[in-house]
Amino acid sequence: MGEVIVITSGKGGVGKTTTTANIGTALALAGKKVVLVDTDIGLRNLDVVMGLENRIVYDLVDVVEGICRLKQALIRDKRIEGLYLLPAAQTKDKTAVSPEQMKGLCETLKEEFDYVLVDCPAGIEQGFKNAIAGADKAFIVTTPEVAAVRDADRIIGLLEATELYEPKLIINRIRADMVKRGDMMDIDDMIDILAIELLGVVPEDEKIVISTNKGEPAVYDPNSKAGQAYKNIARRIEGEEVPLMSLEVESGFMEKLKRFFGLRK
């Protein structure tokens, strides 16, 4: 029996879908059986990020409406064994599915898979309610922006109200140089407000844009710092103790030289 984890944020554009794709891929690379469920009905993206758009025949709405069997709608990943995607419908809207139906679907998927990762749409309306309906755990994605943290806080409150306690936090797109200058909220500021356990910190990485456009999650790229951070998150989900990686920007030769001579700290 696996577990259902919803990945949510409240605010849009903070990286829920990218996070879902990368954590899912990393877990599958570690030998787990994983299914990614896109609940953003009408605005599906996860299939694009995974590079599986052209394989969609049936979708989540077809499954709950009984038009196809669950097995028919599940798309096998093109790269790794054990990774599947249940795409959202693009032509319907969020009301096409009810929380009860989602709950049933999650129950069924849990029996087959080690991890069911549910990619939640932005907002707190029907789509959000559907996404969290069957979840056992929740990961909150936020960026170091006041608005994103505010929304994350709201989401944590709403999750508590539905008895989904102890969500874990993923801080995305952090820039060490800006934090150092005091131009960006640092990790402690965010933990201070949200007061939940930190699961991982993902640095801003332009390789994410490239990987997303190519439909190839960043965890495949050994040089991607964000990819490495997602791999660490996956290991923590598996119960391993992995220290937070250093966010220091790689310094150039002159910097190192200066530091060597004690000119910089």
Partner: protein, 213 residues
Amino acid sequence: MKNGAVVVKGSKEGLTILIEEKYDFSIIKKRLDEKFSSAKEFFSGARVIVDLSKRKPNQYEEREIKHLINKKYGMKLVKVINNLGEQMIEQETDSKASKSSSDRTLIIKRTLRSGQGAKFDGNLVIIGDVNPGAEVVASEDIIVMGNLRGVAHAGALGNEKAIVAAYRLLPTQLRIADKISRSPDGEVVLPDIPEVARIKNGKIYIEPYIFLD
């Protein structure tokens, strides 16, 4: 609005219905009906204090008044007072405690997050944080044993003596009675000590909770 037997006055606490003692209860009922039945929509939800002056009602009359105001006219009976120097019906709270609001305290043992809030007719104590986007309202004092970053409104029914105290007082907006203040724009100096806000000379002042001489 004076046509004998029943006088209605507006006050900070809501409407006060003054019932003159010399009239018969049936006449009082009739007058109440004349005043409120026609303007039910207008008065709906209003907080009402019934002043019986020197009249000493029997149980039946008391029940009737309560029923008329709460049920028939859709208003909210806060209390019944008289000139005999005693308070008879206290506001209906869950606890049904016969205390005035300053003796009533609600303790909330958790953090209030964005979109959440608490409202209480009495004192409010939060053991936890009040995050930005959360709102706490009390008719008396508000004490936050944690960071107050959201909106706090103490003395919400007009009590200017109400205070807001917090372990760290960093509110988005602070209201006491009908006074409103907000955090300064731009650079914010973060306090590292507990502070108290109260009204002095008609303005909200914030000062350290512990005075170090």
